[in-house]
């Protein structure tokens, strides 16, 4: 059984159980390892990818649900907000263990793609589904503000 969709801007046909969570299809069938497994229940956000530009938890999204749609992973980030977010992450030295950061960056990018000048409350609501056990939260907030400032220029 195969599912066809657009993965990081390119057509992809993955031969896998349509019930397989997108996370494992991306990782083990498509071979893209940037998206991480953290909880399997949409509780931690480590597996966040974009589906038609919106952040979703790939660990609970069946592969069949993305047929004909656009999936973007950390490997496919290309927008101006995405590049600003990644640059700010390095500039402000956000990552510690780094394991959750793909998911954090996907959530932050989706926020900035939808809202170029988020308030702290906007950031809270966009980021509270992404857990970081290293608690890099203060730097994530600062990096989102910094990225927003560079997009504006």
């Amino acid at each position: 059984m195969s599912t066809t969709f657009t993965l990081n801007g390119k057509p992809a046909t993955l031969d896998a159980d349509p019930n397989m969570p997108l996370l494992w299809a991306i990782r083990e069938v498509a071979g893209l390892h940037g998206t991480k497994f953290g909880c399997g229940m949409a509780l931690c956000g480590a597996c966040t990818v974009h589906l038609d530009g919106k952040p979703i938890r790939s660990c609970v999204t069946p592969l069949s649900a993305v047929a004909g749609r656009q999936v973007t992973t950390i490997e496919g980030l290309a927008s101006k907000p995405a590049k600003a977010v990644q640059a700010a992450w390095v500039e402000l030295q956000v990552p510690q263990c780094g394991y959750c950061q793909s998911g954090q960056i996907m959530s932050a990018t989706a926020l900035l793609e939808a809202n170029a000048a988020p308030t702290d409350a906007d950031i809270d609501s966009a980021m509270s589904g992404n857990i970081c056990r290293c608690a890099t939260y203060t730097r994530i907030r600062a990096a989102i503000h910094a990225a927003a400032a560079t997009i504006k220029v």
């Binding site: 990081n8 896998a16 159980d17 397989m20 969570p21 494992w24 990782r27 083990e28 498509a30 071979g31 893209l32 390892h33 940037g34 998206t35 991480k36 497994f37 953290g38 909880c39 399997g40 229940m41 509780l43 931690c44 480590a46 992973t73 950390i74 490997e75 980030l77 990644q86 640059a87 992450w89 390095v90 500039e91 030295q93 956000v94 990552p95 510690q96 263990c97 780094g98 394991y99 959750c100 950061q101 793909s102 960056i105 950031i123 809270d124 609501s125 980021m127 509270s128 992404n130 857990i131 970081c132 056990r133 290293c134 608690a135 890099t136 939260y137 203060t138 730097r139 994530i140 907030r141």
Partner: protein, 732 residues
């Protein structure tokens, strides 16, 4: 930012096979790209022939000028790779943008943690403390050999040469040469027996900003964790473990599991029954279909509440003396005012973001392991014993660990042993097998921070002087029965009482007692170890005593710290920076202070909280002062304090593993709550300038946040917390 990119990029490059490092020393890890988007995992790269320079076990200099620092410590977020590289590169006078870091193989002779003796491993916030002199000397000796090479080449006195950012200069002759070009000749120079280390005033990297070597790879998804290891023909295993600690497999029926497409084998191992499949999804479907009957005759079947009730009772019985100064009981009996309190601390899971995982490739005479390995030589020995091999036949590739907080460092090497036993039961035929834990496996998996009961009593004189202090601790030992059991002296596991028996306050009569218990629940150190509970008890109780004495809790502590100038200094700094004395807070808000020492690092924090009409607590701000000796990387010190505060705050607000009739009642992040983004306070970190030897920062920031917040809640509400987590009382 541009200055950061090359260093970070070069780290990633160090994981690519044939990245240009020309050396005779075996590389430890090699990844190669097998054409995007699929990433292949190539296994260890062959050493490349050439004329590089490997003056010692910690650094290699390629003819291309690349500096490869070999890290004996795991990078699990704490910044060890960057810190290690900073120290070595400082004495080498290396160009930071050319520095990359690679993990060391398991080899206690070269890579032991000097704080652990003969064990290679990471823990106790010891990476920088034990590496400091070793890596400064390693860098300085390499530099001396490069200078000697230049002196020979140019026929000039070595004393006339200098080095800066990877270049050797002969100012008088206007000559210069890069480290890379000097590497082949430097390799022929004798290794100097002694070297003169830099005067700290000449440091260019230490104490300055050296960007993290792993920041870029961790911001674009290319950093390699164990989860990302993929070897040709690799299978994925999930292990069904017993539902109760101590239960064993009675029988199992694998038929339904084997009927799941992709499931290859079902094997019984000492830890349970493993489903081995082509990928995670098939393995998880197979494990769901697996039927196992358990023998729970010897299992722990008590509830955590029943165990706590037993601890409460034990606290009234005599324990073993962990400290005895004067006669505390008598002093308290004679006191004008007496204060007493007891505290309950739950079991805590570490819950690192990367659930435990390990890849094992086992044959009849070799065992290769990939893991975010924290105890390399213990894991090597345990893997060898499990596989029936010699430790020399076991090689370990240490990858980035997606957090640990102590979990990946355990003397039984639980997850490594599981993976090896599965590979063995599978047939030891060289098929690489990745053991993957799920989050539920992690939350149910034991090796928790122990549950503890604390009872404290204090006596004050009529003048408000603290005359006597009794502290009774009841709980399991984390050192008993393991490789570190030798630390237990006269029945006292020092990690059960550290922070309590070492109380810094000047009190004439102090009595600290310990009752060590045994349960069927496996326990382990958890970030900041004993101080994760003792600092809460000591620092909230001293606050309560200060209030009973009618004194300001900061001033009360300060006057009792005369014998501990470094602790007193961080307390003063945190108080000053937070505006403790200067700015009163409005109604509904409160400010609390706490100070602790852990692993010879001193941290004080002032927390500010708001308490809503519904009693809900919001931590608004934490001001933190830290003295960790010579600050090696100030930005990483700040990051570790920030992270420690968030980690500790989540635990005191929500963290608890509880058992009902032996079954763990939490499963995932819905029932084992941790701190989320919107709950993170503003954090302000102040680092004490110091010329003392550096100490660690990965753990100590966790210790004071709980009591500082609890004391702030008291300031705002007049209510104290004695049972952790605070959510148990409905205020978090």
């Amino acid at each position: 930012m541009n200055t950061n990119a090359p260093a970070a990029r070069s780290t990633r490059r160090s994981f690519l096979k044939g990245a240009g490092t020309v050396t005779a020393v075996a590389l430890t890890i090699g990844f190669e790209w097998a054409g995007p988007p699929r990433r292949a995992f190539a296994g260890p790269a062959a050493p490349l022939p050439g004329a590089g320079f490997a003056p010692n076990a910690f650094v290699r200099i390629g003819t291309d000028g690349s500096i490869t620092v070999i890290a004996k410590h795991v990078e699990m977020g704490q910044g060890a790779y960057t810190g290690i590289a900073t120290v070595l590169a400082e004495e080498l006078d290396a160009d930071w943008t050319l520095v990359r870091v690679e993990s060391a193989p398991a080899d206690a002779k070269r890579y032991a943690n000097l704080a652990f003796g003969t064990i290679q491993g990471t823990g106790g916030s010891s990476a920088m403390a034990n590496s400091w002199t070793q890596l400064r000397e390693a860098g300085a000796k390499a530099r001396a050999m490069l200078l000697a090479a230049a002196a020979q080449e140019w026929k000039v006195p070595v004393a006339d040469l200098t080095a800066e950012k990877g270049i050797v200069y002969y100012a008088a002759g206007k000559r210069q040469a890069s480290f890379g070009s000097l590497a082949p000749l430097a390799a022929t120079m004798p290794v100097p027996e002694t070297v003169t280390l830099k005067d700290p005033k000449n440091f260019k990297l230490i104490g300055h900003h050296a960007p993290r070597v792993d920041a870029a790879a961790k911001s674009d998804g290319t950093a390699q964790f164990t989860l990302d290891v993929e070897l040709p023909g690799m299978l994925v295993a999930l292990l069904q473990r017993p539902p109760l600690f101590g239960a064993t497999v009675k029988s199992f029926d694998a038929a339904a599991a084997l009927a799941v497409p992709g499931v290859v084998k079902v094997v019984q191992v000492p830890g349970g029954v493993a489903v081995v499949a082509k990928g995670f999804w098939a393995a998880s479907q197979g494990r769901k279909a697996l039927k196992v009957e358990w023998d729970d005759a010897n299992a722990e079947k008590r509830s955590s509440a029943a165990i706590m009730a037993e601890y409460r009772h034990l606290a009234e019985q005599p324990g073993l003396a962990a400290r005895k100064d004067g006669d505390a009981a008598q002093a308290i009996k004679n006191a004008a005012h007496r204060v007493s309190a007891s505290y309950e601390f739950p079991y805590l899971a570490h819950a690192p973001m990367e659930p435990l995982d390990a890849v094992v490739k086992l044959t009849a005479n070799s065992c290769e392991i990939w893991a975010g390995d924290q105890f390399q030589t213990l894991d090597q020995a345990n893997a060898a014993r499990t596989a029936g091999l010699d430790p020399q036949q076991v090689s370990i590739h240490t990858l980035y660990a997606g957090g640990s907080f102590g979990r990946r460092a355990n003397v039984g090497s639980d997850y490594i042993v599981e993976a090896v036993s599965i590979a063995k039961a599978y047939g030891a035929d060289g098929t690489p097998i990745k053991l993957q834990w799920t989050r539920e496996d992690d939350i149910h998996g034991g090796l928790y921070r122990p549950m503890y009961f604390h009872k404290l009593e204090a006596g004050l004189t009529a003048n408000g002087e603290l005359a006597g202090w009794r502290h009774v601790i009841v709980g399991q030992s984390i050192m008993a029965g393991g490789a570190f059991a030798g630390m237990i002296k006269d029945g006292i596991d020092p990690t059960s009482v550290e922070g309590a028996s070492t109380i810094a306050y000047d009190i004439p009569n102090v009595d600290v007692e310990l009752s060590t218990t045994k349960t069927g629940v496996p326990v382990l150190w958890w970030r900041v170890v004993g101080t994760s509970h003792t600092a809460f008890a000591v620092e909230t109780f001293i606050d309560e005593v200060a209030h009973a004495a009618g004194q300001d809790p900061y001033a009360f502590r300060r006057k009792l710290l005369g014998a501990h100038p470094r602790m007193k200094a961080v307390l003063e700094l945190a108080a000053e920076k937070s505006g403790w004395s200067a700015k009163p807070l409005p109604k509904g808000k409160g400010r609390g202070i706490a100070v602790a020492e852990a692993f010879n690092t001193y941290v004080a924090q002032v927390a500010e909280v708001s308490v809503g009409a519904d009693g809900q607590v919001k931590v608004d701000r934490v001001v933190c002062a830290v003295d960790c000796g010579t600050p090696i990387n100030p930005d990483i010190i700040k990051a570790q304090m920030e992270g420690g505060i968030g980690f500790g705050l989540g635990a005191i607000l929500y963290g608890a593993i509880t058992m009902k009739d032996g079954r763990i009642e939490q499963d995932n992040f819905n029932s084992y709550r941790v701190l989320r983004f919107n709950e993170m306070p503003k954090v302000e970190v102040h680092i004490v300038a110091s010329a003392e030897a550096p100490t660690g920062v990965g753990e100590p920031g966790v210790a004071p946040v709980g009591p500082a917040v609890a004391n702030a809640i008291f300031a705002a509400t007049g209510k104290r917390h004695y049972v952790l987590p605070f959510s148990a009382a409905g205020t978090a």
